[in-house]
Symmetry: C2
């Protein structure tokens, strides 16, 4: 049986997990709870200056782990693909200012646009951003999304595909984000995590749980331990593949956003030790 | 561009598609609409005699295409796995009496039971039924289910896995059911359909569509043309793999069950010609 986490030293939260809190509150509460890292969702920046937010987070004792999220490259019209690149360039600038070493990519999909075309547009979109990444010292983490999002959120739906794409792009500015929610069901998961490690591409590891029944395709993720994902087993594969970065708690849940967020944070920390 | 269907000669409906109708009404309305085949869900049999239902369906001019559904093999306790086998043996008897040549298998999964164990129990369950299949002249069609059902409905989530399992069991009584709703997103789909054809394992082909957004994980399937699945392309792959059986319309939808069922049936037939 894989071991429990030793302590909080690799515990990171995504701001979206405690969406009701403004980022200043999140920073203070996370730090007080012993959380060590924070992944910033762009909506949490709102009209704030990313430079000041980054300083505030570090002053709170938190490491800025990543910025969520860029991507959404495919579109039917070239002008819309160009707009997507512009938005990704803004995200790269924000990550640089914030001091985030990478951006998580939700790669995109358009209902009815053939998946093979969407995948080609994703590859082209990422390739077009590589000079900006190098200039800003910000990497891009391809996050394969669950196949239930293949219609409109991502045409990259398995770790095998993300590994293929990262290998094809062959850039030091491109890696992969591994999220248990999207990938736990895949019979090739252990093998593809090992391959991602051999490629030196694992940039991030995200955890939550899969509830039974799941009431909503998007906003019913579970707290670790409230579902069926073999969290310790998957973490053991990721660590065996050489990853020793943060375990990032990313939970979108209308159920948990309605909870008292201080109570929820305390339960996250307990669940992290008991289940991740 | 793949061709439209020529006529109704390969059009089959699942009784669940028009769930509000008792099977006698469904048979009469399907036949009047030019539908040629029917797949019977076990709930539609209720307390009826399958022998008489089969005769009624054939007298209506319908071919009995299959019985839905068997499976749900995995369980934590051996006694529950034995109960599942008993229920599958009842399904085999019903299919025989009804005159259905095969049963569609939703293979099963148990939240928290490791998927590798569930898959082993599925293989053992199917293997245990093979003598019953031979005696009843009824085949079993492994239906890979969408990964969003890996928690509680099926640990077989890609056509590659279904092909592997069918190849491993290596029995003339085991084949595969290909359902676009479950498989459309898979980058390996064309290759695995071709492989399924080479294995001579394609027993069934199910169609519907994937709506954006999808409001419910189970009961929001779309009418063909109302979603993003490349139906003609996938049918062209299935036919290139040697399949020339029925195109079965299987739609679970609280939205469409609330429609006038005569109107819905007319729209199904139109959508079949325009989109399948």
């Amino acid at each position: 049986m894989p071991l429990a986490v030793a302590d909080n030293s690799r515990l990171c939260l995504h701001t979206i997990t405690t969406k009701p809190w403004p980022i200043e509150t999140a920073a203070a509460r996370y730090a007080a709870a012993g959380v060590q890292g924070i992944t910033v969702w762009r909506d949490a920046l709102d009209d704030r200056d990313p430079v000041k937010v980054g300083a505030m987070l570090r002053d709170s004792g938190l490491e800025v782990v990543s910025l969520c999220r860029g991507g959404f490259f495919p579109a039917r019209l070239a002008e819309d693909r160009a707009k997507a690149l512009d938005d990704n360039r803004r995200a790269i600038a924000e990550a640089h200012e914030l001091g985030a070493p990478h951006i998580v990519l939700v790669c995109g999909a358009v209902p009815g646009l053939p998946l093979v075309e969407a995948r080609q547009q994703i590859a082209e979109g990422i390739a077009a951003l590589l000079p900006d990444c190098a200039a800003a010292n910000v990497k891009l983490a391809i996050e394969p999304l669950h196949p239930m999002y293949a219609d409109s959120r991502s045409a990259i739906n398995t770790l095998g595909q993300a590994n293929d794409l990262a290998a094809q792009l062959d850039s030091p500015w491109v890696g992969v984000a591994i999220d248990v929610y999207h990938l736990w069901w895949d019979p090739a998961l252990e093998r593809e995590i090992a391959r991602c490690g051999r490629l030196k591409k694992i940039l991030a590891y995200h955890v939550c749980d899969w509830r039974t029944p799941t009431g909503d395709l998007l906003l019913d993720r579970g707290l670790m331990g409230d579902g069926c994902i073999p969290l310790r087993q998957i973490r053991s594969w990721v660590e065996a593949a050489g990853f020793n970065g943060f375990n990032e708690v990313e939970i979108f849940s209308t159920r948990h956003w309605a909870d008292d967020q201080d109570d929820f944070l305390a339960r996250i920390v307990t669940a992290y030790h008991n289940h991740v």
